[in-house]
Symmetry: C2
């Protein structure tokens, strides 16, 4: 970590990137780092493929996260957050990053995914960390930068997002210690809890009801689906599907849950396990995907009916 701290301290123009389809941890870790580095007068440009999801717009500094390429393309450092591989930025940004790397711009890779490919010039990959936000918090402490309310709000948001508010496997005593410290440093826990976990759009809640109604059980496995027509009918945004698979996983007796989400040209599939018996990562490979042991994703270009048939067959033989 010492080398990372030195590199950041010495850099002036820093590019910060994270993965497409951003989640609470990618946004939270980016904002925490942006705000802290701006405080010490670094010039920061933050580039993402997709927009900040509605849920996280309450955080300060979202306006610093851009989709457009910077006008001045000179950087002396790139920091990549919460990405297992360079390609996770999306094609457009990956190409841009590769150009910078060819020009020998130094890349620091900060991440907590098992699947990280150590693609950086310097890699800080800690698979025991709850979140990338937790890792950024540790770096900033090491750097002795000033923490303000907005910085710890971002990092706390990232941490609770990735741990499902301290419910998932990645939560341990250290996670709670850091949560406690962030609150002491001013994190507005209640506000964040309300925004992230207590502010489900009613259309999302209706979408969940629909998914529950359609749930089909195969022993201790369950699957359900969202049809493309549901979005229109319920006036639901696509990002409202985030986390819905966990509602299936939370059912008593369920060890493995699958949610199919039909979109224009693809069916996105989420796999979740809550018991050691089921490996979501290896199951996802049957559907062109992968991820973690307990959480993975995949996809299908077939029709929803055919995909369901395929899925049922695979679940039956699991």
């Amino acid at each position: 970590m010492k080398k990372i701290v030195e590199k950041i301290k010495r850099a002036n123009k820093i590019l910060i990137v994270s993965h497409k389809r951003p989640d609470g941890d990618s946004i939270g870790s980016q904002l925490g780092l942006i705000l802290a580095l701006k405080n010490i007068k670094k010039s920061i440009y933050c580039l993402n493929e997709d927009e900040v999801p509605e849920t996280f717009l309450f955080l300060k500094g979202c306006e610093f996260i851009k989709k457009e390429f910077p006008l001045n393309k000179k950087f002396d450092l790139i920091v990549s957050l919460d990405m297992s591989d360079l390609s996770r930025t999306g094609e457009r940004i990956e190409k841009f990053l590769k150009e910078l790397l060819e020009k020998k711009v130094f890349l620091i890779n900060i991440d907590h995914h098992d699947s990280n490919t150590n693609f950086g010039n310097e890699n800080y990959v800690d698979t025991h960390s709850s979140s990338t936000s937790e890792m950024v918090f540790k770096i900033l402490k090491k750097m002795n930068t000033k923490f303000d309310k907005d910085i710890v709000n971002s990092l706390y948001t990232g941490m609770v997002s990735d741990t499902g508010n301290f419910l998932f496997e990645n939560t341990d005593s250290e996670t709670f210690k850091l949560a406690s410290k962030m609150i002491e440093l001013g994190a507005e826990r209640q506000k964040i809890s309300n925004e992230v976990f207590m502010s489900r759009p009613f259309q999302k809640v209706k979408l969940i009801s629909r998914v529950i109604d359609r749930a089909k059980f195969i022993d201790d496995k369950v699957y359900s689906y969202i049809k493309i027509s549901d979005f229109k009918e319920l006036k639901a945004k696509k990002e409202y599907t985030d986390g819905i698979v966990n509602e299936l996983l939370k059912i008593k007796g369920v060890g493995f849950a699958v949610l199919l989400i039909e979109e224009e040209n693809v069916i996105r599939i989420s796999f979740r396990s809550k018991i050691e018996k089921y490996n979501a990562n290896s199951f996802a490979k049957k559907f062109k995907g992968g991820g973690h042991y307990y959480a993975a994703g995949g996809r299908s270009e077939d029709t929803i009916n055919n995909t369901i048939k395929h899925l049922e067959k695979e679940l039956n033989s699991l």
Copy 2:
């Protein structure tokens, strides 16, 4: 707290009671105290009006919580946990306790409810505590009793139950510090998270869908109801209604949520607030109830239709 510690240390035959319709905190604090005091060879009898809910049966020691009166009715100490008033034990046990109190048996009242009436001979009422389980943890630390996995499992369960897994107002940096300590002392966080928050009976999930379907909004307030016929139709147990009001509160834009639950002779009503504007405790008084600022309960002996009319009127003028 010193006096409480002394009293417990000196007592030999201790009666532990809590409220009817037990929740995670009443059960968790009882089990934590029972197991710790049994370890130091105290004779313990624990008496509750109702059975331990299904959700908490995974905890060690549930068999020590009895519904039947003890054969030998001699006690030198009563410890009441998580009860704002003696009547919260239920009529049958309240009568029994009053007999003991007439015989000058000492009563320690340990609770965190605003509405506590300080009915004990010694009262440890801390409205800033997340839970009664947190308070029992502090007492046991002061007593220097040994902690084992089963004790901290109970107390952690109580704490996460009453804070909605660290989502509610009563969570602060101290709560996280204690959670961290409990894990270091052996609390099986993942197992507890799975049992308490990731094991919803499917009938409960269906009940939630029904409540969502019936939700009615009045500005930023929402109410819904469960009819007596729903239980039979969905094969749902009464205890499955626990926490359902929070599903209404979690809807975006909702500041105040009310759930009516029709039973044979009474309609039980839950009130929840997530913003300072709404005081659930004072609102509950309009329905023969009370509790905390952000969470309270009440009841009605009228019909469900009349109760809804009354409620709508009160919500409109709130």
